[in-house]
């Protein structure tokens, strides 16, 4: 460290006057105080904007789900247009097995 200090010292190669640095510090302090003073106003505008956006989003979601709920599903369309026997006849064996929820157990013989 001493070696380096001897070589170049601790000065910077750009010489700024003390006045320049002092003025910059003062400007920075003023700007920080001003920015903080205007922050609540900006905060209010931002909050209103966010509230408006979220209200619109909730409304949109509500409308979309209403439309969706009232739309007839494909299954319902088939149900409404065909009789049960027609539906069952149109299904393959595997499909029939998959909707067969009841397992009919053998009835034990009565002794």
């Amino acid at each position: 460290m001493k070696e380096l200090e001897k070589f170049a010292g601790k000065n910077m190669p750009y010489k700024e006057s003390e006045d320049y640095v002092a003025q910059l510090i003062e400007r920075s302090a003023n700007r920080a105080i001003k920015t903080a003073a205007s922050a609540p106003k900006r905060g209010k505008v931002l909050r209103w904007t966010l509230e408006a956006i979220s209200a619109a989003a909730v409304l949109l979601i509500g409308v979309l789900s209403f439309v969706d709920l009232n739309r007839e599903s494909d299954f319902e369309k088939i149900q409404n247009s065909m009789t049960l026997s027609e539906v069952l006849n149109s299904m393959s064996e595997e499909e029939l097995m998959s909707v067969n929820c009841y397992v009919i157990e053998d009835i034990p013989e009565y002794e």
Binding site: L4, F7, A8, P13, R27, S28, R31, A32
Partner: protein, 186 residues
């Protein structure tokens, strides 16, 4: 020990809403000079240093309530100043480049030559050029120790790194700077 009495006085002013702005001005006038030069050494350009200084001041003022007093006010502000300086460098390096990219180092050296005053010595310029060749973390460690004479504990508080990492960063930085000077000094 960094003027503790003044820090306590400033803290009292900052906690009092009527005295807050005056306390903040006093805080900046106490440490502003040191923080400006820390930023300037990192970003080199005068214009960038001004921007970083202003951003730092805004952040310090807006976060005064969150200052818990775990470190000194100076260390806390120094951390914010360091982050602002690194932010400037990140912008310069671009989104996908590392802070240790050689293009960034070359651009900082160009700025150094463009902004240096006529009266400075060749040794000062070579020394600064040597520093700008260092990886950013080593340059930061070197600046904190060499120029600002922070203790390793203070450096650890600022960077969030452990003392042994900082010691090795500083050691490698000194070796690289010496080597650069040997190779480039006239």
């Amino acid at each position: 020990m960094r003027s503790k009495a003044t820090e306590i006085e400033i803290l009292e002013m900052l906690r009092n809403p009527q005295e807050r702005d005056r306390g903040f001005r006093l805080l900046l006038s106490t440490y502003g000079d040191k923080l400006y030069w820390h930023i300037r050494r990192m970003v080199v350009s005068r214009e960038d240093a001004e921007d970083a200084m202003q951003e730092m001041s805004i952040k310090v003022y807006s976060k005064l309530d969150s200052f818990k007093g775990d470190s000194s006010l100076f260390t806390w502000m120094y951390t914010i100043a360091t982050n602002e300086a690194l932010q400037v460098l990140r912008k310069q390096a671009g989104l996908f480049r590392s802070l240790d990219d050689s293009d960034l180092a070359n651009s900082l050296v160009d700025t150094l030559y463009a902004e240096n005053a006529v009266e400075c010595s060749a040794a000062e310029i070579i020394f600064q050029e040597a520093l700008l060749q260092l990886p950013t973390q080593q340059r930061l460690a070197f600046n904190m120790r060499y120029y600002d004479e922070l203790t390793y504990e203070e450096m650890a508080a600022v960077t969030g790194k452990n003392v042994s990492t900082l010691k090795s960063n500083y050691h490698f930085a000194v070796e690289k700077v010496k080597k650069f000077i040997k190779e480039n000094a006239i």
